[in-house]
């Protein structure tokens, strides 16, 4: 019996910060001190607060240590494990509380407002041990379904819960399952979309890394509900840890008879295979994803027929996102009423967001639907670093839009986000401050979609390229107001004529920034000025009268654009200047300004 558990985060963030070595160091030290029968070292999935990784948590105290290095390990063993004293120096320090040390993870502002359903096991169990999953009620939902419910009852429960697809569009999951069940066909498929491609999004990766069995169990339940015997998980090859843990989980499930020909002796047959995607963004679109699983080039096809009627290999198929599946087992175990009690009228349950950009607590958060953006940014996220002002939050990735400060108090759910011109998306949330140029942001996302357009349909392939050219023109200060109107028209044309979701949503970042930050566009066009000083072609560096003539900037300038006489004001040759900003960083008198 172990008295103490040391949990070391093994998510991608902490892993790339050497958490593997930290775990080994703990194991070695514990052996040296002959404590291996008392202390268990556990590698877990993501704890969520990636900004202060690598993270370790020691139970039963629940002590939360952040930014640990291998060199800290002996001190933690000596002080905490042997003598029972917390190592104050290494505890997480909460900025909001005047940098006070916080003892346990659940005491941090970051965690207090969260409700963990999809992430319930992340950072608690060892994802490579099926027994730990079983201890946390794992596979109880499957047993309940197979022994107590018929397939229609399972679908009714999912319908009653109000669960909507967490991949972005928010289609009711139970309805989707019903369509597939109603199809009369011996062969049906259950697919899982783990091709998470939005820039800055890592929710699905964290679930797969931290709790892979939850996805396997839910897919098996889905198979039972719609009458399918084969599942596929389509996961990006760029997620090596997630793929590895999925493989381990599938092997363990097969060994335990939780996947296979006769699951737990009930006669139900279901198995799951992993298909690796090669990182094409369009393969996250459902028809392109299935085309890719079939072994063809990942291109979308028109709908209808919808996948529930004619999907993978021409058979009825359901495709759900990782996070959607991660909710299923809890809905079965706790009942649909429990789930429907969380959230807003039309959006039930919780949503996981990957918080990034200009925010103190970069990481993974799960909040009940209806939480306001302000609570996410200010309370959970800890606000904007360096005393800067919040400008906008981008949700929905390249398909979504920006939410400006005036909408900070809007409760987040599917319908509210659509009504303010953004969308839920898969859950990436990028926070921007006053130093971000909104035209530049729109350009960034559009560059991404232009790169990732598969090229099958013209509106997306050529339309988005033209759209990007307009944005280029604006950021260079060469556009006219007529261009702005034409550009807006083109946005609507692309949206209504593209074949798949990628093209239909690609202009969204442009449209939403136009809606809320039109003044910035106009400043670029009319005044040839970038208000945030981001667009290089429109920025000028000037030396003010505060210049002491020390020549430090002139010596630093890589292109020799600065000249002048010692002890008198220096000048910048605008034709030579490449706007690298080295001079500003060098000047000790704050005499150089960006205009």
């Amino acid at each position: 019996m172990y008295r103490t558990h040391i949990l070391v985060c093994g998510g991608t963030g902490c892993h790339s910060n050497n958490s593997g070595k930290i775990r080994e160091a703990f194991e070695e030290q514990i052996k040296q001190r002959n404590l291996q029968d008392d202390v268990l070292v556990v590698g877990t999935g993501c704890f969520g607060l990636c900004a202060v990784g690598p993270i370790i948590i020691i139970y039963p105290e629940g002590a939360f240590y952040s930014q640990i290095t291998v060199d800290d390990v002996p001190e933690i063993i000596e002080e905490h494990i042997v003598k029972g004293r917390l190592v104050e120096r290494l505890l997480y320090h909460e900025k909001a509380l005047g940098n006070k040390a916080v003892k346990s993870l659940s005491d941090t502002n970051f965690y207090k407002k969260q409700t963990r359903v999809a992430l319930r096991n992340c950072g608690i169990i060892n994802p490579e041990k099926i027994d730990e999953y079983i201890a946390r009620d794992g596979y109880q939902a499957l047993i309940k379904c197979l022994t107590e419910y018929d397939p229609q009852q399972v679908i009714d429960i999912v319908k009653a819960s109000g669960l909507r697809g967490r991949g972005g569009a928010g289609f009711p999951t139970g309805v989707k399952w019903q369509f597939a069940k109603n199809q009369n066909n011996d062969t049906k498929y259950v697919c899982c979309n783990a091709d998470e491609g939005d820039p800055g999004a890592f929710m699905d990766r964290s679930v797969l890394e931290g709790d892979p069995h939850a996805v396997l169990e839910a897919m098996t339940i889905a198979g039972y509900a719609i009458g399918s015997h084969q599942g596929y998980i389509y996961v990006r090859a760029e997620y090596p840890i997630a793929v590895e843990r999925l493989k381990i989980a599938i092997a363990q499930s097969r060994e335990y008879g939780l996947l296979g020909d006769n699951i737990l002796g009930t006669g139900f047959k279901f198995d799951i295979e992993i298909k690796l995607g090669s990182g094409a963004f369009v393969c996250g679109e459902e028809t392109a994803l299935m085309t890719s699983i079939e072994g063809h080039r990942g291109e979308p096809r028109p709908r209808p027929p919808f996948p529930a009627v004619k999907g993978l290999f021409g058979k009825p198929t359901i495709l759900n996102n990782v996070e959607t599946y991660a909710n299923i087992t809890q809905i079965i175990l706790n009942g649909p009423e429990w789930f429907a009690a969380m959230g807003t009228e039309k959006s039930k349950g919780t949503k996981v967001f990957a918080l990034g950009g200009k925010i103190v607590n970069t990481g993974l958060v799960e909040i009940p639907m209806g939480t306001t953006l302000r609570e996410i940014v200010e309370d959970i996220g800890g606000g904007i670093p360096n005393g800067k002002k919040f400008k906008a939050a981008q949700t929905g990735g390249p398909s979504g839009g920006c939410i400006p400060a005036e909408h900070l108090d809007i409760p987040i759910d599917y319908d509210n986000l659509i009504s303010i011109g953004s969308m839920m998306g898969s859950g990436g949330m990028i926070v921007m401050d006053e130093d971000n140029c909104m035209v530049d942001i729109a350009k960034f996302f559009l560059e991404f979609t232009v790169d990732e357009s598969c090229g099958k349909c013209t509106p997306c392939r050529i339309g988005n390229r033209r759209l990007l050219e307009y944005l280029d023109k604006i950021t260079c200060g060469q556009a006219t107001m007529q261009d702005l109107d034409d550009m807006e028209q083109l946005c609507y044309y692309i949206k209504s004529n593209s074949l798949c979701g990628l093209g239909q949503t690609a202009p969204n970042p442009v449209l939403s920034t136009l809606r809320y930050f039109r003044d910035e566009y106009e400043a670029h066009i009319k005044e040839h000025r970038c208000p945030a000083h981001v667009c290089k072609r429109l920025v000028r560096f000037n030396i003010t009268d505060a210049c002491k003539g020390c020549s430090a900037c002139a010596r630093k300038c890589p292109v020799g654009a600065i000249s002048g006489e010692i002890k008198s004001k220096f000048n910048i040759d605008q034709d030579k200047c490449v706007k690298c900003g080295q001079c500003i960083a060098t000047c000790r008198f704050g005499a150089i300004v960006k205009e």
Partner: protein, 122 residues
């Protein structure tokens, strides 16, 4: 290949392990704190700690958490054990040994009667 009964058995066996990581109800749980500074350890706190954990496990008690802390001050009285039951006064026992530890679990934690003879003086 496992049966449903096998899965249930694994769940039972593993739950006592993993319950240690559940901090959600920490405020509603009974906490037993053992002073494990150098003084405490020297006086035998480790044996006491293990005896407490073992007894809780044998009795399959739920919602009782045994943790360590550093020196509790009265070094001469170590090993010291503090019992915190939500809604009740904090009770501190002195000069605890393995046998007294078992008794504390039996009478105080399970039975609800404080073991007056082992109380710390201060």
């Amino acid at each position: 290949m496992k049966s449903i009964a096998d899965i249930m058995a694994i769940r039972e066996a593993m739950q006592s392990q993993i319950i240690l990581r559940d901090n959600a109800d920490a405020e509603k749980e009974t906490h037993i704190i053992v002073g494990m500074g150098t003084c405490g350890i020297n006086a035998g706190a480790r044996t006491v700690f293990n005896a407490l954990v073992d007894e809780i496990e044998t009795r399959e008690l739920k919602g009782v958490r045994v943790t360590r802390t550093g020196c509790m001050g009265d070094c001469a009285e170590e090993p010291l054990v503090e019992v915190r039951i939500p809604g009740k006064d904090v009770v501190k026992y002195a000069n605890v040994d393995a046998q007294k530890a078992v008794e504390i679990i039996e009478k105080h934690i399970v039975g609800g009667t404080v073991c007056a003879e082992y109380l710390a003086k201060a």
